[in-house]
Amino acid sequence: MVAAWLLLAPAAVMVAGVLAYPVAWEAWTSLTDLSPQRSGPARFVGLRNYVELATNPVYRFWPAAAATLAFVGLTGAVKLALGLGLALLLQRPFRGRALVLLAVFLPWVYPASVAVIGWYWTLNPPLVTSYSRLAADLKQAVDGAFGSGAWALASVGLFNVWRGAAFTGVFLLAGVQAVPADLFDYARLECPSPWRRFWFVTVPLLRPFLALAVFLSLTTGLADLANVWMLTGGRVVFPVLGTEAYWLGVQAGQLGPAAALSLTLVPPLALVLWALFRLVDPPEERPR
């Protein structure tokens, strides 16, 4: 038993060590009026930052929260749907399947760190390139319809879906292959409607893998957003929780409200996580 703890320790220290201080710092800072623009020690202000966020329209908290929710929810749903479709498309052997699988895999392994740069330049072209015109028209159309910055957000979403659907697809394909093939064969024998087969058999059988895939795709959705803020210095993205926090913290120097803003993401994510854990391993079916 001691050996088990010793083996686990380095990984736990590694993860907790990187996370502990930042999380604690954010939590503390969110309760203070810390700002580099003001001399003197930070004062404890209780929950004032949070109250301010919720009530003062200057912080644009509610629009940003709505946009974040829309972004994560939409991309998450699309990624899941596309990924599941891809997994089912690739479930049974056919000629050329290996090549299609490879093609599906590539968007995810195409390193996003540089892909995001390429994506950003393509959609916001720098010079008069051969495709600038098209990209500019698109941008104008979308921004015109949904407000300034909408195209930037939508394009990040598109990028995230391209990449995330690939990951989800391959992940769920592995899930499909982990389920005994008999279970799907039996459904083919007994169920006349593919639609009902999907809802009564495929989805319940894949439930744990769907849950994990959703969770991983949520976190990568947020990570892609983060990459784009950094790349563009927070300039071009539609107000989302993260961008607002970046603005407040780095540009406006209001670290307290910025920390509070960032932390509002944690409870909903934790809630989703809890729900997903229940799906992965429901207590009444737990073995042993």
């Binding site: 050996a3 993860v15 498309l89 051969s130 592995a174 947020l222 990570a223 926090a245």
Partner: protein, 289 residues
């Protein structure tokens, strides 16, 4: 017969659509990188008529294109070789570190199963619920306190956080399901516990290890944020951060070339392992997560 053919045709069409959608952005980027400046402005967006490697050569400072007065004056040289070295070092070290730690933790949780092992595994996975966007300001303070600013070590030490929880889950889920008799048989033959691990469990787990490795590489290679916060000195930057600082207005073509320089080999490297990746994931997921 017609019905089956119709189904085959439908699947073929879907596959074609999927392949096109997946590869279009990749091929688009590659096509831009192969264009001459003339074609970049006046050519077809999706096709390159006279492909050239000049952009790659220019990136390494070997050939300088005539780009007009403004361009010639303002062109900088970039330590691209250095960036590549840094990138490979960071990726390689993070993968080794992540895999090493996840193998240890995975074995501890999945095979030795101390009390509460399931909770620990969930706890690790739960760290994904902390959005990384909230981390970089305080993390940067820590990095400065430790004197690691502009050091690759800062990245190597933080990257495992991104992939470790998943890899631990993957490996421990696989080992959890391997029959205990594997160890009993070997121990009856006089093998020690470590010997059982290195001679039997680890070799049996190659596909799962490959899956964990590919996942780590894919995750680490997708980070731009942490790298751009920690590394500001061009001499120690990784390629993504370096390219991110290039001035697009003037040097779009070499920049696009640089993107391809890293992305295409990495994507193909992972592509080679796609089968193992699926097999490894499936092995770990078999019989419910």
């Amino acid at each position: 017969m017609t019905r089956r053919r119709l189904r085959g045709l439908g699947r073929g069409g879907l596959c074609a659509l999927v392949v096109a959608g997946a590869l279009f952005p990749i091929s688009f980027m590659l096509v831009q990188a192969l264009k001459t400046p003339q074609e970049d402005v006046f050519g077809h967006p999706l096709i390159v008529r006279a492909p050239t490697l000049d952009n790659f050569r220019e990136l390494f400072g070997e050939a300088r294109q005539e780009r007009g007065l403004v361009g010639r004056v303002l062109l900088r040289t970039y330590p691209v070789v250095r960036w590549l070295e840094n990138t490979l070092l960071v990726f390689g070290a993070s993968i080794v570190l992540t895999l090493g730690l996840s193998v240890m933790a995975g074995y501890g949780l999945g095979w030795l199963r101390p009390p509460g092992w399931r909770g620990w595994r969930r706890g690790l996975l739960a760290t994904y619920a902390i959005p990384h966007t909230i981390l970089f300001i305080p993390l940067y303070q820590v990095v400065i306190r430790l004197g690691l600013e502009d050091s690759l070590a800062a990245l190597i030490l933080t990257y495992p956080m991104l992939a470790l929880p998943f890899c631990v889950w993957l490996l421990s889920a696989y080992w959890e399901r391997l029959p205990r008799a594997l160890e009993d048989a070997a121990r009856v033959d006089g093998a020690s516990r470590p010997a059982v691990f290195f001679r039997i469990l680890l070799p049996l787990s190659t596909p799962v290890l490959v899956a964990a490795g590919v996942f780590t590489l894919g995750t680490v290679a997708s980070d731009f944020m942490l790298a751009s916060v920690f590394l500001t000195d061009p001499r120690v930057q990784t390629l993504p951060v370096g390219v991110g600082t290039m001035d697009v207005g003037l040097e779009e073509l070499p920049a696009v070339a640089a993107i391809n320089l890293l992305a295409i080999p990495l994507a193909l490297l992972c592509g080679v392992f796609v089968r193992s990746y699926v097999r490894g994931l499936a092995a770990a997921m078999a019989e419910g997560a």
